[in-house]
Symmetry: D2
Subunit: 297 residues, 4 copies
């Protein structure tokens, strides 16, 4: 079918390729002319036959807000907008309502798979009405991995449910990464273990802990066995923070996910103010030696 | 090749089957005559041709200690004992030294895969000398999953390294299970999400969080969508505790694994003494209402 | 000086007493006629001489919102409203702006001390302009504990800073309570220790861990040595949740405070969905025995 | 009474002063002649009248082991040894048994208070027999803070109970320090708060969180408002590690204490291997930018 696709970055670019390979007609728009098929959102709207389906794949927050607002201006009654970015699920209802004023339908779609989705397919979690989702199903069917539809795709609930599920997915992802990483640090710390990479490689098959992430860590360790080239400084993209915030709203204890989030915050601090205060306290009551800043390595 | 196999419980029984299917001659011993091939360890020793290879697959701790001590009595110089149970890695060196006094070699083997190992193969992490491991390799090759040897098998280092790697494997497993479980609780708590099982099913393909454990949780939720039949009371089998203890020895921060371990402890308490003390404190300073025991549901 | 005081609950009632003992003229309003000095907010406004100072001490959230909205109607230009409740600091600016439209000034005041404040004084953290705070200082001076003003009172910053400081205070309080409670559980679990209460009593003097909360726990344990009468079910009043949410906004890692908050959530669950999922997973891969619900004690 | 005191370091030196001020005859031994009253343990034994009481105040571990072994050689039946250092409680029973072979009694004494004990008195937690403790009571009475004996002193149980209680005390101390330090970091991160020190100063009186440690943090922040002079690198002296290990043995969940311990481990790492692995994983699946080591500031 025909699809407008806004945002041709790391994710959107690959998705256009996968959709075209799947026989769809994709007209992409991106502010960078070298990757864009049209010059503007207006051109995109003109190039698509009504009723249109437009997939938004831009950074969450203000840029998604602005894109959806502009789409409300250039699209028409009966069109359908799919937000496939990592928007917070609480933004979906306002976006849906804005578009509904013009008679435009809305689906929120959580998309997982990263750069591997191009070849392996993307895990999809979508929210919206049955009718809207049925309408976009040919697109979802091409994006999702081959195999039974329920493995790799879920209509999670009404508008918002797709991004909520994706948010939880990413929160879980944080905790999984921490789990494997803690295991790596222990293997690397113990002299008996000759080569942590070989252990991670062995875990890729037959073990209880095998997973796609686990394979990726084995691969990363093969490329850089002591991770010498990589700093522990780690960004977070929002979903981890949102997951803990929503857990608090829902009164769900999430010590594993929260620990993973806080570890990322900590990784970005040159020196931890918390630990400076702890060191200062030890100094006060115990006369314990503290490391003065001038002694820092 | 010929193998003596001591312990025909849930794991050993299946391993005997897989090894026999792989063409090995396995003589099994178990105190339960209905599953045992021989009547005693002495009979086992007599039935095997020297130099013998004997695999011990019994509960870790005193029973493994006793079995290895008895084997030191009935085996001969040049024989090889493999401890495939979940012994703490610190017990391996004493076991190896005990056997070495009789000229008997020792390998520690961490075995992962649970009841699925019978058909899919077992992930193996072994510790010992190159020569000893080469000698037992035909057995390892049959137990491990098919495919490249390095995916599913690792010679992790000298005696002790196999069980150390398996201990870390299980520590990581604890944290992975907690990660998926926290995600489940969040999905189940949010009204927007119609069916947490469907989300878990969708995660099995294409997503970043897909894994074998993740598939199992999808399967468990299919069988019992609200987990109504299962209590949260959860045992721990030792490796999780040991992992945190060894992390402390190695000064490795493991907040994710520790949180998972503590959650298990907590799941086995009728009421948390810690939280009783917190409630008592709130009552003291704030005159906050506390729930009296008589009000408990 | 003269003060209007709205809300004569556990805190407000005591504060009226302390202020009157300190020589102030306090006119209190409460919906319960048996404790109220006037019949309505209108009556309160009439009873006070302009320019008025009115202290609001009602539950945070909708009731505080409504009270401040109503005060905007009955007070006059030049009056001053102090919100002494546990409002989230983000609500202070909207409240200040609402009142400012009528020329009414606003101070946010975090008040700590619980039921003990009546006799010992209240710790105060306030936000607002220098002028407004100078104007209310006689009230603050009576409410705060005797001694140097900087011990027990702080002008933390502009509007919002008082409640922010109080929120952090309560977050820290959560973590302190957990720390003492974990220590109690360990002492109670170890057979060598004859009487955890005696240890807590001994800690009240000379030790590094001595504190007011620590004394209260010693007292609570004296009244009920095994805490048999108290359930671990523990409410949370909002500040703990807000502290973790604000920590996430500020990218501050707060593992201690978050662990305390999650422990409270958990204490209110009959059975943990997270642990049910962990138990279900163990059952899937290991054939581990799980506790069926029917077996629960 | 007369006391031999071995170890005149930071703690022992002050204790000698406090005991002498209290009217006791203290003969101190230390390898550093400039502070020692006698030249050797033999001289110490000769200088004391039998039956002797000797207080050992040396670093825990090998030095305490060696000191107690040597005392077993130079003391006589009927003498009493008190280990006031931070020995792990599991070492107390072996020490007691070693001395018992010579008819020498043993008490383990946990001593809290740091450099402030000299003037304020030391919090004492002791383990041993009623008779032995009665015998040493004059010493304990002088060391402990003035006031009721039960506030500042506890006979916690048989040999080992004193050091167990002290170990838990220090584990709690870790978590308290983290709680206050997290609060400091939040106050320092929020622009609304003008001066975190002033808030900490205000908390010293009237608030729920007031404590001795809290006062010390206010003092530390007064001396160095932004803690510019102090590195977050923080040692741990053993008790924190032991507390978590014993919690695991006792199956007591201690998320607060464990988080504090792990934070100290982390503070001593230049870059966290766990976070390097997390960053490597993000890079693998997402093509996320990672910070290369060469970019680190």
């Amino acid at each position: 079918m025909q699809l407008g696709l806004i945002g041709l970055g790391k994710m959107g670019f690959n998705m256009r390729s996968r959709l075209r390979d799947g026989g769809h007609e994709v007209i992409g728009f991106d502010p960078r002319p070298e990757v864009s098929d049209v010059a503007s959102l207006e051109d995109l709207a003109s190039a698509l036959q009504a009723p249109r389906v437009v997939w938004v794949m831009v950074p969450s927050g203000p840029i998604t807000d602005q894109t959806i607002t502009e789409l409300a201006g250039v699209l028409s009654e009966g069109d359908l907008v799919i937000d496939g970015g990592n928007s917070r699920y609480t933004e979906d209802k306002p976006h849906a309502e804005l578009l509904a004023q013009k008679g435009i339908a809305f689906i929120d779609a959580g998309v997982s798979g990263g750069i591997w989705g191009l070849t392996e397919g993307y895990g999809l979690m979508v929210g919206g009405s049955d009718g809207d989702i049925a309408r976009a199903m040919p697109i979802f069917d091409t994006l999702r991995p081959p195999g039974p539809v329920e493995d790799g795709f879920v209509h999670a609930g009404p508008v918002g449910a797709g991004h909520f599920a994706k948010m939880v997915h990413n929160g879980v992802e944080y905790a999984l990464m921490t789990a494997y990483a803690e295991g790596y640090e222990m293997l690397a710390a113990e002299d008996l273990v000759k080569d942590p990479q070989a252990v991670y490689q062995a875990w890729t098959n037959g073990t209880v802990v095998r997973s796609w992430l686990q394979q990726l860590l084995a691969k990363a360790l093969k490329e850089d066995p002591n991770l010498n080239e990589i700093s522990g400084y780690t960004e977070d993209s929002g979903e981890g923070r949102w997951t803990v915030e929503e857990a608090i709203r829902l009164r769900v204890p999430v010590p594993g996910i929260a620990a993973s989030l806080f570890a990322r915050f900590l990784s970005r601090q040159d020196d931890s103010p918390t630990m400076k205060a702890v060191a200062a306290l030890r100094n006060q009551f115990g006369g314990h030696a503290v490391k003065r800043v001038s002694e820092s390595g």
